[in-house]
């Protein structure tokens, strides 16, 4: 590895609403920073090259791949992981729908899948099934075959729309 990867960089950011200051190697990926340095193990590492979506977290309002972003790039950012989104109740309806519809089996993709789904639903409206499928096309699930996930997200979109919160 080039020596530059291990150069230390000071960063300050907020993670799940809490301010964090840290000194990280320049080569530290955001997902590794979250998992190894902050103990936030909800985001998972799997393909580690941006294809599978298991490490998806929210950075400054966008769903991003934690394996394609360096921790150093998150300096000044607002980062939300599944832990924080659970604590605030921001995705509580999606989580309840996933459980009710059994839209998860092993659960390894689920935190990333929920962040991606929340990203879609934040746009508002009730997306059709093809749109939901397309939006999740960067999140790999080997267990469910996706149909239950699509069902759960559609259910939540409808419920939010009926409540007028969408």
């Amino acid at each position: 590895m080039t020596a530059a990867f291990s150069d230390r960089i000071d960063i300050a950011l907020t993670v799940n609403g809490e301010s964090v200051e840290a000194r990280v190697p320049a080569g530290r990926h955001l997902v590794d920073f979250l998992r190894l340095d902050l103990g936030l193990t909800g985001a998972h590492t799997s393909c580690e090259h941006g294809v599978c979506g298991a490490c998806t977290v929210r950075v400054d309002g966008q769903a991003v791949r934690g394996c394609l972003m360096l921790a150093a790039q998150a300096d000044g950012a607002e980062v939300w992981t599944i832990e924080g989104l659970s604590d605030t109740g921001a995705v509580a309806d999606l989580q309840a729908a996933f459980v009710a519809r059994n839209a998860l089996q092993c659960g390894f993709c689920t935190p990333g899948m929920l962040v991606a789904a929340a990203d879609l639903l934040a746009v508002g409206g009730v997306p059709d099934r093809a749109t939901i499928r397309e939006h999740l096309s960067g999140n790999y699930c080997r267990c469910t075959g996706y149909e239950a996930i699509i069902d759960a997200i559609q259910t939540v979109a409808l419920a939010r729309s009926e409540k007028g919160v969408a």
């Binding site: 998992r35 590492t45 090259h49 659970s86 989580q95 089996q105 092993c106 659960g107 397309e134 996706y146």
Partner: protein, 793 residues
């Protein structure tokens, strides 16, 4: 004999109902505990240097520079590990003639596939270990490699393991009836050559193990993403020279298995050996390239098949010649001969015919070892069988549904024995096919297909019947000498507050094992499912058993849980009878309370009984049994396997200009016997189908002639993603096995068994008017265009 579970109004009626999974809420909150989430004091990380050659002599290893990397602690060669870890041999006695050489945890003097572990680098961080591994210099002399399956046995091909004399690992021929006469006298004979792509499981969580050796206690503890904790316990003990009782395997949350995590992997055993040497916790987590090059591969069969039929479509004979190549070693301890063996067992499986010849030839090659992956052998057998049946129907001008109706085992034919000598206790092929035809509205779909054709849109309908092997008895592995339990156990206890704890030897990888067990125990004892806590995945605190593979968790583990729960109910009621001064037979337990059997009147909450038994036992009659812990075990004995059956259908659209196949819809009707949780069963079927759809359209590991894997990343090895997958209609017929009280058979592999064949038949239905046909999976656009004759080079 079955217990009755049919009345939905019976008390505590949880078997047969959709009940939420107790562990799902935790997982959606990111509170799972997978192996890579664990951090132990003094933990170190191991990274492996792997062979870049398919076949090479290891002349020397220089680790000096690697050891200079800050954080690198130790470097181990094959010889170092061999001092504490004995090699293993992946053969089983009942697979007659199967041979395989001893395999070491790290290659000792020769590497036999690209990705075989050669050197282990241990460091305080994974990054340091990776940096160190990159600096290890291994001096290789490349050796001639064997990569082509079909020439592996030819005289000019080098012999991979010279001591063995040839590259043949296993061969089996089954010959029943008079196949040659049947073909000679047939009205129509169809011959075809099928290929199933080499693929792998692509678990989202890579293989993961964390092992600690505590010399103070003389105890090894392995946190392992596995399907079979007790099997791992046995193997670690045997090869590291420890008593089995001194090895504890803990299996927490597992991020997908599908058969990938039921095998012995050299790097995982090396990790345990290093923990024993260093006396501290060692973690190994495979990266994605390692997953592709070292997780077991599967399928990769070439099959020449023939079918003989009469003029009215009656099947006279099948003749199958199956070939597969399994890599350089037969995988320990389940072997790599099972998939070929299953092809012999399963071809023609749904059909009542007389003459059957099938041969499998299993050869060695310098590639990643293959072994059991979800639905072992079934997708191959179903593809060949159903492909031939459809081709015969087309040749006779017969509808695909009709030819199946004329040949499927009759629903009243059981017990029956197939020409492959598989014993069927009770199947429902015709009821399932009838239900499928109704569900898909077959006639309307044919009309839609015709209407699309009039618009120049090419669509096809494919059907595939199948049988599925579940609930294996000791006939699967035990008789071959493997210490792999076919028995499972469950311990059910009542705590003072009236809550129930059940510890089971079957494991959870997301399929819903714990939900299924909680429902069975709740019904068996008479409490709410929420009052039941389930413990799985710990060899130290659960009964001994096999784990979760071969669709056995519900059928075997579930039966043990039901028997244990009922025993606990009996024990509770005995105490209750003494406390309430009435015969225990007049009492029942419902919703967590002791009630009168006759009218359901509340008599006493279980928490009161618990209070008396645990804290005021002095008030009970001396000598009254009060054993509120009961354990029962179950192993199938009447049949070697509990076969299930089902039928799938696929509706596809083929773009004849680009060769692209679009999956429009998919149906499956299957019969797994007693359904414990309808939602979980449906989702097992759906997930299984999609793995079969991946096989049909996308998944294939490509190697070059030198044995280099060409597509070892998720960008290059395509898996099914949400955008390409269809919605799936699932339905069931229930024919409970009479062998158990519960009546459950397995459901986890049925989807995978038949999906790819249904898609193949649908594509061929679409291509047939153009004179096209495809028989080599996956059906990529290129292969479809070749099937249409539009690409010829």
């Amino acid at each position: 004999m079955n217990s009755p579970f049919g009345n939905p109004d019976r008390p505590n009626s949880y078997i047969g109902k959709t009940v939420p999974r107790p562990n799902a809420a935790r997982l959606v909150q990111g509170r799972g505990s997978y192996v890579d989430d664990l951090v132990l004091p003094r933990m170190v990380h191991v990274v492996f240097v792997r062979s870049p050659h398919a076949h090479a002599r290891i002349r020397g290893i220089d680790a000096d520079t690697a050891l200079e990397v800050k954080g690198v602690l130790r470097v181990f060669t094959g010889a170092d590990i061999a001092e504490v870890c004995t090699p293993w041999v992946g053969v089983l006695a009942h697979l007659k003639g199967l041979k395989s050489p001893p395999e070491h945890a790290l290659a000792v003097d020769r590497a036999c596939w690209v990705g075989e572990p050669v050197v282990a680098v241990v460091a305080t961080t994974r990054a340091a270990a990776e940096d160190g591994a990159a600096l290890v210099e291994v001096d290789y002399d490349s050796l001639p490699e064997v990569t082509d399956m079909m020439t592996a046995l030819e005289p000019g091909t080098p012999v991979l393991h010279t001591d063995m004399g040839d590259n043949l690992a296993f061969q089996r021929l089954h010959d029943e009836g008079d196949v040659d006469a049947a073909f000679a006298n047939a009205h129509t004979v169809i011959a075809a050559h099928f290929q199933t792509g080499r693929h792998t499981g692509v678990t989202l969580e890579p293989r993961s193990i964390l092992v600690d050796w505590n010399p103070g206690e003389g105890q090894m503890t392995a946190w392992h993403a596995t399907q079979a904790p007790h099997m791992i316990q046995v193997v670690l003990a045997e090869h590291l020279g420890l008593p089995e009782s001194r090895v504890r395997v803990i299996c927490g949350d597992v991020g997908g298995s599908y058969g990938i995590k039921v095998h012995i992997y050299p790097d995982e055993i090396a990790t345990a050996a290093i923990a024993k040497i260093m006396a501290r916790p060692v973690k190994f987590i495979a990266d994605r390239l390692e997953s592709f090059t070292t997780d077991i591969h599967a399928r990769d069969h070439e099959i020449w098949g023939r079918i003989a039929v009469t003029e009215d479509g009656k099947i006279l004979a099948f003749d199958i010649d199956d070939w597969t190549a399994i890599g350089a070693y037969s995988v320990y301890p389940r072997t790599s001969a099972i998939e070929g063996n299953q092809v012999v067992n399963l071809c023609g499986g749904p059909y009542d015919f007389k003459n059957y010849r099938a041969k499998t030839t299993v050869v060695f090659q310098n590639k990643t070892p293959t072994s059991q992956y979800r639905a072992v052998g079934h997708p191959i057998a179903v593809t060949v069988t159903e492909g031939l049946v459809d081709m015969a129907a087309a040749a006779l001008g017969m509808d695909p549904v009709e030819i199946r109706r004329r040949n499927l085992f009759a629903d009243d034919a059981y017990p029956a024995v197939s020409p492959a000598k598989m014993r069927f206790e009770g199947l429902s092929h015709h009821a399932s096919l009838t239900k499928l035809v109704e569900l898909m509205d077959y006639e309307a779909l044919r009309a839609d297909q015709a209407e699309a054709k009039s618009r120049g849109v090419v669509r096809g309908i494919g059907i595939a019947s199948f049988i599925e092997l579940t609930n294996p008895s000791p006939f699967m592995y035990g008789i071959g000498g493997a210490r792999i339990s076919a028995q499972d156990g469950c311990t059910v206890r009542m705590d003072p507050d009236g809550s129930i704890v059940a510890a089971s030897s079957v494991t959870e990888q997301g399929q819903g094992t714990e939900a299924m067990l909680s429902q069975i125990v709740a019904e068996g004892v008479g409490v709410l499912p929420g009052q039941v806590r389930i413990i799985t995945g710990d060899t130290q605190s659960t009964p001994y058993g096999g784990g979760t593979w071969a669709s056995r968790g519900a059928g075997i583990g579930g039966e043990a849980a039901l028997l244990a729960a009922r025993a606990l109910r009996g024990a509770i009621l005995e105490v209750a009878g003494a406390m309430l001064q009435c015969p225990s037979g007049t009492l029942d337990i419902r919703d967590g309370a002791v009630v009168n059997m006759a009218d359901g009147t509340d008599r006493m909450p279980l928490s009161e009984l618990g209070r008396i038994v645990y804290f005021r036992g002095d008030t009970l009659p001396k000598g009254l049994p009060r054993e509120l812990v009961q354990t029962r075990h179950y192993t199938p004995a009447d049949y070697p396997f509990a076969f299930t059956n089902g039928v799938q259908a696929s509706y596809v659209e083929v773009d004849t200009d680009t060769g692209a196949v679009k999956l429009l819809k998919h149906w499956c009707v299957e019969d797994c016997g007693r359904i414990i949780n309808p939602q979980l069963v449906d989702e097992q079927i759906r997930g299984g189908i999609v793995q079969g759809l991946g096989a049909a359209l996308f998944e294939e590991l490509h190697y070059d002639a030198e044995g280099q894997l060409l597509n070892g990343s998720m960008a290059d090895y395509l898996v099914p993603m949400a955008g390409e997958m269809p919605d799936m209609i699932i339905a069931h017929v229930e024919t409970p096995t009479l062998e158990s009280e519960l009546g459950a058979k397995g459901a986890g592999e049925a989807g995978t068994a038949g999906a790819a064949a249904a898609v193949m038949n649908a594509i061929n239905d679409a291509l047939r008017p153009f004179g096209g046909e495809v028989m080599a999976m996956p059906f990529t656009p290129e292969r479809v265009l070749r099937g249409l004759g539009m690409l010829k080079d």
